[in-house]
Symmetry: C2
Subunit: 420 residues, 2 copies
Amino acid sequence: MRLLKGNFIYSIDKNEIEIKKNQYLLVKDGKVEGFYNEVPSIAKDVKVEDYKDNIIIPGLSDLHVHAPQYAFRGMGMDMQLLDWLNTYAFKEEGKYKNLEYAKKQYSKFVDDVKNSATTRLSIFATLHKDATIMLMDLLENAGVKAYVGKVNMDRNSPEFLSEDTIESKEDTIEWLEQIKDRYKNIKPILTPRFIPSCTDKLMDEIQNINKKYKLPIQSHLSENTSEIDWVADLHPDTNNYAEAYDKYNLFGKENKTIMAHCVHCPDDELNLIKQNNVTVAHCPQSNANLTSGIAPIKKMLDMGIYVGLGSDIAAGSSLSIFRAMSDAVQVSKLREAMTGEKNQILTLSEVFYLGTKGGGKFFGNVGSFEKGYEFDAIVLNDESFGDNSDFTLKERLERIIYLSDDRNIVAKYVAGNKVI
Amino acid sequence: MRLLKGNFIYSIDKNEIEIKKNQYLLVKDGKVEGFYNEVPSIAKDVKVEDYKDNIIIPGLSDLHVHAPQYAFRGMGMDMQLLDWLNTYAFKEEGKYKNLEYAKKQYSKFVDDVKNSATTRLSIFATLHKDATIMLMDLLENAGVKAYVGKVNMDRNSPEFLSEDTIESKEDTIEWLEQIKDRYKNIKPILTPRFIPSCTDKLMDEIQNINKKYKLPIQSHLSENTSEIDWVADLHPDTNNYAEAYDKYNLFGKENKTIMAHCVHCPDDELNLIKQNNVTVAHCPQSNANLTSGIAPIKKMLDMGIYVGLGSDIAAGSSLSIFRAMSDAVQVSKLREAMTGEKNQILTLSEVFYLGTKGGGKFFGNVGSFEKGYEFDAIVLNDESFGDNSDFTLKERLERIIYLSDDRNIVAKYVAGNKVI
């Protein structure tokens, strides 16, 4: 059991933020038991972790991040998606064949993740099986919980970053066998890079693998108009990009799925996302950096589509999901300002939900402090912003979202374990 | 004399970045003398300040910042301009009548400015004369150079933040007399808040004051469509918002002028800006936060209009002009993505120019390391981003713009003086 004292703030739903000022939170078996005004009798022997006037929120979820691109984040921000992939991303990912290089760069990535407010991630590695296992080992040791995918890609990439269909299939199976029962916190996720990178034959093989392993899936969807046109050429039998995944049973339904971006989805695609319970990873910074556009998140939320946030390192430069929250508000305002369409603007409550409970949903009962939720939490000290005595707890939360960095993080818990 | 060693990066013009790798820079009487491969004989007795592999760039200029709003930055980000002013900004500014409150909050602002990469600022205080002088005193002690304005506003504000026309005029003159010869680094700037806050009579008085004092001017222009409509109602004899300043001789020409925002300027207004040599303060974060829109900066630069960057605290949440640079790139991309207009996207070179030499121009020969420029400089250590051995100096600069915070600042110089 754990007993924490402080000011707790969490989402009930996208429109409601719950605030527990100066209360005790009891954690039992890694899960939230409840709030109390005084030490409850069942916990009278538990040492209180007293965080005084600090603010305690659920850990944040990053639904879309390319770990091997972390080393060059903040660079090459003058290109659109397809050029950027060829010039920067593929070149860097090719280096992860070298395990020594992978260890150096992945260690830096994992250190920075550990010191961030993020407790759950869904991560793209590279196509390299051994480097992917190394990343998973490092993450396990850091104490965060994550899905990690060995990337599948057997076409339209440079020689130094390619695998043939059989190799891709066999390496994936070998990878899955090697990591079986290896981790407590880290799990595999199937990761066809995106439709232009995967032949029909490879998509078939991935579908076959999943018949046996029953894994979640992650990929990219409708990020950029040139990409969408390309997919339409590659799959002339489909009505939209999503159907190119769906025809291989790699788009939600029984297979829990994250699709990153969804900037330019036509209505029938949004309907399929909704119908198949696919989770959208909204990556506002990436979508600005690569001139992709602004996803209609308000519309998705109104449709009841599951949405969370992604840093999308390195098309996004910042690993911070707080930054993704404030970016999501800002770009939603620019969507309204530039299109003239009404009801586009995301509220504080909505983006706080997206970064916590909305994204956390992909990992189970994660991202809230309601009873039974896994206890992922971040303790934040906001004194560096100046005197906060005139502000409400909700105002202090907004300031944390706009102003905080890793220096404001006092402690971090993942599923009940204190990791910093 | 000062002799610095390191990697120097600076703008020649908006399209050209000059890089001096591992060189010596000689500073004489606070001004750049030149670059050398080895210690020049005239400086053989000067101690070398050796910054090794660090990157040294010109100090950044913040052309638009409301110091009294710093205390509530990152809050109330759910409103547009006119509601936000009434609900948050005016309420907070009213508190600066109390000098003790002003001292506490201005000290925090000035401390954070001092530790930032900004060396030059143009600042709005409040209408309170004494608190404005206190802010100027604190800035002088911090070693940065700034223009500071006592705000004029005699209509359309709440009772607790108002002055009548005569009071506004007399307080302004008293303020100017009291600070005469008081500062080495800090200068006054005339600051009619914006047209809706200033009666015609007050604009007349400010014009009269300037006939005697010959000061620069700062204000707001064409930020928000409701504001623009309001100004058109208030000044039915004008063809555009700018003319409402220009008819009082408070819009450039012999009076060096900064106009913040300029998001929605019609062509005749842009032409007047150009013709009168008015400097535009582009505040991308503010313009997103208040749903104002995205200013057509590329067009302004193509017209030869002077442009610099502003944090616009607290409509902008971040004091960092590096953040303003990356925001400027990002929103320019979203402008292109959302309007379909071509040639909207700002380059790295352009935003680096805007934050250094472009904004610096308002302060004289500031913002570059060309011979004769005042030596404002920031020394940056980028080791926290990870191994940079594969990157060019220009790539490292881009990463500093996207990723750095105050922890990366190793040293700071203003007009030849080391301030941190």
